[in-house]
Amino acid sequence: MTVSAKTISAQRTLSWGRMLLWGLALWGLVAAIYRLTNGLGASTNLSDGRPWGLWISIDVLAGIALAAGGFTIGAIVKIFHMKRFYPLLRPTILTAFLGYVIGAASIFFDLGLPWRIWHPLVYHNLHSPLFEVAVCVMTYTTVLALELSEVVFEGLGWRTLRRLVGAIMIPLVILGIVLSTMHQSSLGTLFVLSGWRVSPLWRTGFLPLLFFLSAVAAGLSMIIVEANLAARAYHKKLDQPLLAELGKYAAWVLLVYAIIKAATFVMSGGLAALGENLWLTLLFLVEVIVGVLIPLVMLFSARVREDRHLLFRAAFLVAFGVLLNRFNVSLFGLKGVAYVPTWAEWGITLGMMAGAILFFDFMVRHFPIFEKGH
């Protein structure tokens, strides 16, 4: 079940994949410097008619939704006392932490005045959904860092600190659940205030609820996806029954999501808007069919859940569906002018992801991420 650290580090440290990752990270570094020294106009294709682009859609919205595994696994293991899921806890917390760091970093680059990123600590508009997102994300990233520190202290052998963190772990996890619920839904609230701008296919006052539910489903699915990827990369065996159970929970969440989404869609007159714009209709159908309906059916089948590859595919589709949903709401379906991300926008996005993978790999090799805990 577990892989010793020795085995991992014995593998080649420079392969094509690794070179690609470092290449992307370098691209990201160059892009970051260019962005900070030349301003947004030079480094992005954002404009007055399209103030938000790739960074917001993928790194902030999609990234944070897909990192929801952090609080869901924490709830499952620590709150619901389902200790058998423990092996999944540490790697998921690590990826969630990296996901939120990416989200925060891309906000840093997206802000017109990045050095003022600390302003929400001093200037508050308590009734802005974005303020709430900012404060929640800041706090939750800290929570994740603290949760992760337990592994770090364990690896470093700093027992006192480790015990200290362990002592506050439950409150941390509860805080994480509350904060996550708040900001996952408030990311949806962002598009209620600007609802006039959202395509009728996605426009509803229930976006906060839909964002939250889809985040939970995405979180659970990403645990399955990442477990499969890590197994492949680090030559581990998969605990399929464990993942199958997660798949079942994801199925139920997805079902509730699908029902509420369908109901709100009809309620807000989405039916009439179908077909008005061919491109948007297509995107909507892909999101709903490929991203919700198909994986929903798959996940409810025990046969699928017990098969490693089929479960992986179903989970992947859920994650893809949520990613597409965030893009649909914030980019494709958001009224605005033509836009296509520049080399710098892609650079920062891909570079950060590559950096995260490299960091993940570093942590796995030097800290007991995959060790059997208690």
Partner: protein, 375 residues
């Protein structure tokens, strides 16, 4: 015997009616950008004069064009009254005297003081000023001697005010405007510059009238140019401005636009960077002016204008809206470029391939992992 009004004497001798004189004074008030009531005040002030104002007119590196401009007049008019209010004691081109007599006349006026100095032409500073020597003295020495007791100095022409042709590249004599030299030697002397190539006679007359009537020089800009004449860009008062605003430009000499009187900007008109009152007072007794005749302004009232190619368009200093409007349908524009589209396509394509590869996988029973070489 009571001193006689110079004006009265002049009108009598020249056969000009007082009415014409008053009209002239009103015209001067207008030219000087003063309220209409000043027409009467100017007339009264001038009529009080009983003694002529001595004037020394110096010429250095010049073509005498400014003197020509000032004295050229197609018909006798009330403007000539001004000539009877001054006593031109020294003018190399116009005076009858020559040699020692001429220089003596100048020295005596200087001794008496209370005179006006008008300087035409550039001053060479190179090699201690040897390139302009009059009666054994360099221009620099002449200025030193002559300006010291003057009541005020007027430098006429681009040469006198800025340096004009002599100053143009490469300026082998290291010429500069007489105005700069005077300011350096006598920083407190009231001075005014009337550039132009040549200077517009109307502006000289008006400045003289102002000085005669009010005893002081009119308000000036940072180049000592009177604001009444050099306060506005030609571009802002040009009768062809509407064509500029509508984008109607002459593109070739003699084309349709040229015949219709369109804007000469593309033919190199320097109107947008030139301060002068040519559109208002025009030239040759109001006959016409360069743009009116179909040739662009060459910017002759500005510093270093001889170094600017006559037919090269200039950069607009203070842009204003054109005569056309954006449509309500125009909104902010999207930014899409081919390179970014290409990169995006490549990234999305690569992601799709990666995703497909990941999703493909041999169907196997649960649990066993297939070690693959990734990482």
């Amino acid at each position: 015997m009571e001193a006689q009004s110079l004006v009265a004497k002049s009108l009598l001798e020249r056969g000009i009616t007082r009415r014409d004189f008053l009209k002239f004074c009103a015209l001067m008030a207008g030219t000087l950008a003063l309220p209409m009531s000043y027409g009467t005040r100017i007339a009264e002030a001038l009529e009080k004069k009983t003694t002529k104002l001595p004037v020394i007119w110096l010429e250095f590196q010049d073509c005498a064009g400014c003197s020509e401009s000032f004295t050229r007049s197609s018909k006798p008019s009330a403007a000539h009254v001004v000539l009877d209010l001054i006593s031109l004691e020294y003018h190399e081109t116009l005076m009858a005297a020559a040699g020692f007599q001429a220089e003596q006349a100048r020295e005596e006026v200087v001794k008496r003081g209370g005179y006006l100095v008008i300087i035409e032409g550039g001053v060479p500073k190179g090699d201690d000023g040897v390139y302009c020597v009059i009666a054994g003295r360099t221009a620099l020495q002449v200025i030193e001697e002559t300006v010291k007791n003057a009541a005020a100095v007027i430098t006429v022409g681009n040469c006198g005010s800025f340096g004009g042709i002599p100053r143009a590249h490469p300026s082998p004599t290291t010429a500069t405007g007489a105005r700069f030299v005077v300011k350096e030697m006598f920083p407190d002397k009231p001075i005014i510059g009337l550039p132009g190539c040549p200077v517009n006679a109307v502006n000289v007359t008006a400045t003289l009238v102002h000085f005669l009537a009010f005893g002081e020089l009119p308000p000036t800009d940072q180049h000592d140019r009177p604001l009444f004449a050099y306060g506005a860009l030609i571009h802002d008062n040009c009768p062809r401005r509407a064509h500029f605003d509508r984008g109607e430009f002459v593109r070739e000499w003699g084309d349709e636009g040229h015949r219709k009187g369109w804007c000469l900007y593309k033919m190199g008109c320097k109107g947008p960077i030139t301060y002068a009152n040519c559109p208002a007072v025009q030239w040759n007794d109001g006959l016409s002016w360069p743009i009116g005749s179909g040739h662009g302004c060459i910017g002759c009232t500005e510093l270093d204008f001889w170094d600017r190619p006559i037919y090269e368009p200039v950069k607009i200093q203070e842009a204003a809206p054109p005569a056309f409007y954006p449509s309500v349908e125009e909104g902010p524009e999207g930014k899409v470029d081919a390179v970014s589209a290409g990169i995006t396509g490549a990234v999305v394509g690569a992601a799709a391939v990666a995703g497909a590869t990941l999703l493909k996988g041999k169907k196997s029973n649960n649990g066993s992992s297939q070690p693959s070489d990734e990482g």
